[in-house]
Symmetry: C2
Subunit: 378 residues, 2 copies
């Protein structure tokens, strides 16, 4: 009887309401019954996105939504800026290159946030740049960027701003319209508290205009087809019906809390986690730009980071994430995103303390939990 606790940056735990919705009998998608559900989902996503633009629902994971954001606006031979500060920033470059799009890569050291001024400079140096591809929260490093400032830098150029908000949407503030984010992609398995399988994408008027010149080939991910279907509250292909039904239940929960309170809760959980890491003597990977959705901390010197994560998961049932790519074995990443409460954070830190102690790391037992409790008490 091992009880499992999920503290990973996607998938995130499912509320009981979502589990229940997923278990309902399926209904056909081309019926007034489902149309009413889809209409509610479309409206609900506008609320979460803080936009008046249409948000399209794709049957895909987040990477499919990222590809959608490349191939509907660009043509082979176009030049774009991709900001690479981690694994998911690199994915933008990979997708663009797969379609023959030239990338001016803005490399940012892992653990640091891009300086919006660097984007501004690069845009000025090459007026032919058609798009700037960014990542709201780099799941691989825990870094959050100043998207409002980036939006201000891109706004008056001819380029569109494309945001990977897969990690972050519905957990931290992202004002799609007010911050001039032209295309925002997301996924279901993070802040939206659903299983993976849905991708989302919003499109601003400026982005629609650019889409008219796009020559990349597309079919399944065609936003033109999606827009045509949207107008009659439909999807061009069979939608992931069950997940869309559950999406409405998830958004209902989010509306009950309100976005402001959700963002505050995430901020407090992040503060508590960061305080716990410091109290345990674990260095934050990104002291200057730590996000409120996932905290990355360095594994103490001499300790086997992969073993730490495995022991927490396989012996104690507490699943956190380790480092990815170049940080494999060197990081722990504790998510505080979606359907997570303060006592989930406490149990995660407690389990971390137990395994750190068993692995021979020297620290004051209970110091991490105490530090987190003090933040939550405030």
């Amino acid at each position: 009887m091992k009880k499992n606790y999920l503290l990973t940056p996607g998938p995130t735990p499912l509320p009981a309401e979502v589990c229940e919705a997923l278990a309902r009998p399926i209904i056909h998608h081309r019926t007034p019954q489902f149309q009413a559900i889809l209409k509610e989902a479309h409206e609900g996503l506008k609320y979460v996105y803080q936009t008046t633009s249409n948000v399209f629902i794709l049957a895909s994971s987040g990477t499919g939504a990222m590809e959608t954001a490349v191939i509907n606006f660009l043509s082979p031979g176009d030049t774009v800026i991709t900001v690479e500060g981690g694994k998911f920033g690199e994915r933008w470059t990979e997708i663009c290159l797969a379609y023959g799009i030239n990338c001016e890569v803005l490399k940012v050291e892992w653990g640091k946030a891009v300086d919006p001024k660097d984007i501004e400079k690069q845009l000025k140096s090459n007026p032919k740049i058609k798009a700037v591809f960014t990542t709201l929260c780099e799941t691989s490093t825990g870094v959050v960027v100043d998207m409002q400032a980036i939006g201000a830098a891109v706004k008056d150029t001819s380029a569109i701003l494309v945001v990977d908000a897969i990690s972050g949407l519905g957990a931290i503030d992202l004002k799609t319209d007010a911050w001039n984010c032209d295309v925002v992609v997301s996924g279901s398995q993070k802040g939206l508290m659903l299983p993976p399988g849905l991708g989302f994408i919003s499109v601003s008027p400026k982005a629609w205009k650019l889409s008219e010149t796009s020559k990349c080939p597309k079919y399944y991910f065609s936003l033109k087809a999606a827009q045509k279907a949207y107008e009659s509250t439909d999807t061009p292909w069979t939608p992931a019906i069950g997940l869309i039904i559950a999406l409405n239940d998830a958004i209902k929960l989010m509306k009950q809390d309100g976005l402001e309170n959700i963002f505050k809760r995430h901020n407090k959980m992040a503060d508590a986690t960061r305080a716990a890491m410091k109290a345990l003597g674990l260095e934050l990977f990104s002291p200057t730009a730590a996000s409120d959705v996932v905290t990355a901390a360095k594994v103490p010197a001499g300790l086997d980071g992969e073993k730490l994560v495995k022991t927490m998961r396989d012996i104690h049932g507490v699943t956190i994430a380790g480092g990815q790519s170049e940080m494999k074995g060197k990081l722990i990443r504790i998510a505080h995103m979606g359907y997570i409460g303060e006592f989930d954070i406490i149990l995660g830190i407690s389990c971390l303390e137990k395994v750190l102690a068993q692995m021979g790391y020297k620290f004051q037992m209970g110091a991490g939990v105490k530090a987190a409790e003090e933040v939550f008490l405030k």
Copy 2:
């Protein structure tokens, strides 16, 4: 308290075991726990596909799997045969054209099955043809084709045979390997008794060889990336975890019955449905090539077909399908696919009789149900 009954050719009803699996707490995909599930799913799909080749699981609907089958094997400027006998055959042409691939369209009258000899002839007349795109069961017409004979016609040419088995797989016989089907695509919401959201694709050695020359751009649907991940029991992008977990439960049910028994059950339900249509004086849309997964019958002259379907659904809770595209309003389509039993067929026919009678159609009340019962009694 209106009870709902689903008799549509996708989505099909969910077994209780599948509903229960969908409601389980989510787990992380990069864990030994999920790897064991994914391994079981990979093996289970080989059983359903009757193949020793790898079957890849995509987070997409069936159309995404169709696009995968085009862009991983072909290059712009290539020439292929597309067999068009309905809406889904036409989709092959649309996808190919979107990627600059030339289509020699083999038009087949709606309601008729393609003659494998016509494919053979066309292949002989143009040895440059690289692929033949076919549809096992045309959901829009209810027609099934002789895929074994088509496989024999394509086998010794340099072209690969690509089969859309979205409707049909796991419901009627399709021997992927023995019938020389190089690429078979399917989806979760039909014979596999799951919600929509998963696409499947098998790849033969002949198809892998062709893939090496493919120049269509791709990223999310790259089979090279899928194969690389498959080797370590992984997926290149976040998989639709919940649906894959439920897939194993669905395949477990299928294995308990065994494919042979499943095919027999579908055949009997189809026979009963066809007998009922005849007894009610409704002409089968495809008397010569009616499939065992969905029965299409013509709406009697003078009756409003759309109203018939709507009344069954909105007043009585029995959802069947109407005609699509050029057959809109002119057909009814009753599915007998997946988690459907003989008494589901009886209730569907009974509801059809009730609404036909209310709409003033003249027939012997009970004649359809009686004819179906007689088939089931045999």
